[in-house]
């Protein structure tokens, strides 16, 4: 093994620099933000918006958790409880999780990673943000005034026969879909047309690959949820019979339509998270990605295969056993693609130079959650155990491991990793580690008891539950409190960092990612000059140094 001599590498001598005139202050005034076409500013506005929706969804989650501390009614009524879990699901899925990583970090990083000045259609990008705001406003007004109580899945004929007003919520989800489609379309065109000279497809950062695969799903699958919400809304308001058998419809058809979008939607949430983690494992192991092509292609594989797995949500819905078998096999393939990524992330650590930081702690948490969340997902797709697990807390725990565990870990990791680039400041690493510990432990304490409650047969969406599950529910609520505490710590030190944080400099992590090759915060035009891209984005060697090549 040829150890390069330390002195051969020039040590950074200059002090970190804060770019005084940057995208944040190049133009001033509220109007300059509202009319901006800058992808970075749009990313920051998405950031502020999804933090608010996350806070809202989190409050609903805590209300649900506290209600469940006793098997009897605790402090809210049955109908309020039903509205609370509906709100939690709708806000978290449609308002937070789907736009979170693509909207914030996709917008902020994608052009920087491609050496581009902006996305392909900057006006469309701003429009998708406005559509997101309008859709969110409609959804929130709808849930507050109408009292939607159908769960985020709005299965017919419950949703079309509930006395509550559901139409505004459905309309809001319909509108939000357009935002999602526009963002996806924009990113696809950007990746195809705006790569800087030298960035070939096989030199794109893996986050770009992940966002690219996500965008394909967004463009192709989202129209189906639009159709579904439209049909449910028309049935509810106009008395048409698409899904209600009393009016000649078929309720199982509604489930097929719903999951045709909502299963790929899981990958709209998870693929960007996987992309973030690919960047972070490379940056903090200071190591080229082990099996770059495998990770890139498996993103596309998941995007493709994910379209054909929807029926595994419906094994006991009355669909045929043959359908069940087909959907189960396809689900196994999604599992294999995910497994490939996990092996390759762990493989990236091999012979790396690991720097333990808050994002790295989140990476460890992420690996744990994706392994258990993924494996329990495959277990659920094995059909016969699902007969027992279906619609129990086992399912709740499984998808929270993926959607909360994996995706939130990635979201937090991304915030910590790119915060210095976005705002030019650093946060307090010690507090970040403390918060990360709270969050990883809190997640486990919240959701592992839910796996056990599901095994025991506790159905989901239960306001009152059999007494034997009291202990597990109390444990889960305690875990969620830890978790909430962790989020509060993060919020405090990030606000502090924004105001008084130390100057980060261009590249505080010494990352080789292309997005770091500009000032922090970046200037409005992204790059002062046209850069060259001789290296892959994840290769950790100094210029002119001949690296050791190992093939396993």
């Amino acid at each position: 093994m040829s150890q390069p001599v330390a002195s051969a590498i020039p040590a950074p001598t200059e002090a970190p620099v804060y770019q005084e005139i940057n995208y944040l202050n190049a133009d001033r005034g509220v109007a300059s933000w509202l009319k901006t076409l800058d992808h970075k500013r749009i990313g920051v506005m998405y950031f502020a918006s999804v933090l608010l929706t996350f806070l809202l969804g989190g409050i609903f989650a805590m209300i649900v958790r506290f209600e469940l501390t006793t098997p009897e009614p605790t402090f809210i009524g049955a109908n309020t409880y039903n509205r609370m879990f509906t709100l939690h699901g709708m806000v978290m899925v449609f308002l937070f999780m789907i736009p979170a990583i693509p909207g914030v970090f996709g917008n902020f990083c994608l052009p920087l990673m491609l050496g581009a000045k902006d996305v392909a259609f900057p006006r469309l990008n701003l429009m998708s943000l406005y559509v997101y705001w309008v859709g969110s406003a409609i959804v929130l007004t709808g849930v507050i005034t109408g009292g939607a109580d159908s769960g985020w899945t709005f299965y017919a004929p419950y949703s079309t026969s509930t006395p509550m007003t559901l139409f505004p919520v459905l309309l809001g989800v319909f509108v939000l879909g357009f935002s999602s489609i526009l963002t996806g379309l924009n990113f696809i065109v950007t990746v195809h047309t705006l790569r800087a000279p030298g960035i070939t497809w096989m030199k794109m950062p893996l986050f770009v690959w992940a966002i690219y695969a996500t965008s394909i799903i967004q463009v192709l699958a989202t129209p189906v949820i639009g159709l579904t919400t439209l049909l449910v809304g028309i049935e509810k308001v106009g008395g048409f019979g698409f899904f209600d058998p009393g009016r000649g419809g078929d309720p199982v058809l509604m489930q097929h339509l719903f999951w045709f979008y909502s299963h790929p939607a899981v990958y709209i949430m998870v693929l960007p998270a996987m992309g973030v983690m690919s960047e972070i494992v490379a940056a903090f192991a200071r190591k080229n990605i082990f099996g770059y092509k495998m990770i890139a292609y498996s993103s596309l594989g998941i995007a493709f295969v994910g379209f054909f797995a929807w029926g595994h949500h419906m094994f006991v819905s009355g669909q045929s056993s043959f359908d069940g078998g087909g959907f189960a096999v396809i689900s196994m393939l999604v599992g294999v693609f995910t497994a490939i990524k996990v092996f390759n992330w762990v493989g990236t650590l091999y012979r790396g130079a690991i720097l333990v930081t808050a994002p790295f702690i989140y990476l460890c948490g992420f690996l744990f959650f994706i392994v258990f969340g993924g494996m329990t997902g495959i277990a659920l797709a094995t059909i016969s155990p699902d007969v027992h697990w279906h619609d129990t807390y086992f399912v709740v725990a499984h998808f929270h491991f993926i959607m909360v565990g994996a995706v939130i870990m990635a979201f937090l990791a991304a915030i910590h990793y790119w915060f210095p680039k976005m705002f030019g400041k650093t946060y307090n690493e010690g507090w970040a580690m403390v918060a990360a510990a709270f969050i990883v432990l809190g997640f486990n304490a919240t959701f592992i008891p839910q796996f056990l409650a599901g095994n025991g047969g506790m159905p989901r969406r239960y306001y009152i539950y059999p007494e034997r599950f009291t202990g597990l529910n109390v444990a889960s609520t305690m875990g969620s409190t830890l978790l909430a505490f962790g989020f509060v710590i993060i919020l405090i030190y990030l606000i502090f960092a924004l105001m008084r944080g130390k100057i980060a400099g261009e590249n505080p992590w010494h990352s080789k990612g292309y997005e770091w090759r500009t000032s922090s915060p970046p200037i409005k035009e992204n790059f002062a000059e046209t850069l060259e891209y001789p290296e892959e984005p994840h290769t950790y060697r100094e210029p002119g140094e001949e690296p050791e090549h190992v093939i396993i």
């Binding site: 039903n82 189960a328 690996l367 495959i378 016969s384 155990p385 279906h390 056990l452």
Partner: protein
Amino acid sequence: MNDIMRSILWLPEQASTFAKKVDQLHYFIFAVTMASSLLVGFAAVIFFFKYRERRARQSTPIVEPSVRFELTVIAIPLIFFLAWFVQGFRDFVWYTTPPKNTMDVYVMGKKWMWKFAYPEGPNAIGTLHVPSDRPVRLLLTSRDVIHSFFVPEFRVKMDALPGRYTELWFEATKPGRYQILCAEYCGTWHSQMWGEVVVMPPAEFDDWMTQQKAGLLSDRVDTGGDDGPGFHGTLVEYGKRVAMAQGCLKCHSLTGEPHIGPTWLDLYRRRETLETGETIIADEGYLTDSMIDPRAKIVKGYKPVMPTYRGRLTAPDAAALVEFIKSLRSQNLENVPSKEAVYEPARR
């Protein structure tokens, strides 16, 4: 071993033949999950301690997987996943294919209760009696929204859909009482849509069934379960008795003639115009409301003279009255208790 695993995983007892199959596969899946995640975890921990950053901007070698390595890491999980699938699908097909000699029970879910009807036998609400060691097939449907019939100890679950029949079968192995839960969200009291399966030894069950058919048993269940009124007939007959005892028939005729109050014949789901000019459908809700708060919605042409029956009618009384009114159809003057579903779905 089985009991240890069961208590680690918090699984309820195994009270059906299917439960044993499900749990066997569950243990296998659990073992593979734990083993593989431990392996991945160990690898990560070893790398973590061995390859720490020693200098800022340290260079690292470029490590790439060979094609053979890649194929191996694809093949290993795929083999395990497919092994799970093969066993899981076999068991699932077994579960969705009832044997020929099942005892059938019709199950209707409605907000928020389960109703059971035995062909040529008794009806019941909330409590399902079945024999142990005999296959039982449930033919499920729903009167309103989607429900899901779930007995954790049997590891069985199937959605009950409005407008179609689904089926589920099980063979209980241990006499006892097991909880039925609704697993598909169905509104306000979804979490209280509970029932009970009473599994009896076969001989005991046969006796019970004979007595049910003869109507001899004092705890006959077809009037609403254990806490129902002490009357051993159908709900409709009971409702007729309540109507006579409460004096309803002094003002409401059963013949179609208007009297002091509207006639009950064909009243159920009749469109009525109210004094206010509004039209309503006389459904269960309206009928019950009119017993409790009769002056709230007066049908046009009648005087608001009916006293309230709040406190004078128990909930089962009111329900029985509604059932009685529902049975009064002009084509169907005889008091035939409504039969639950008799359609038998084609065998797949």
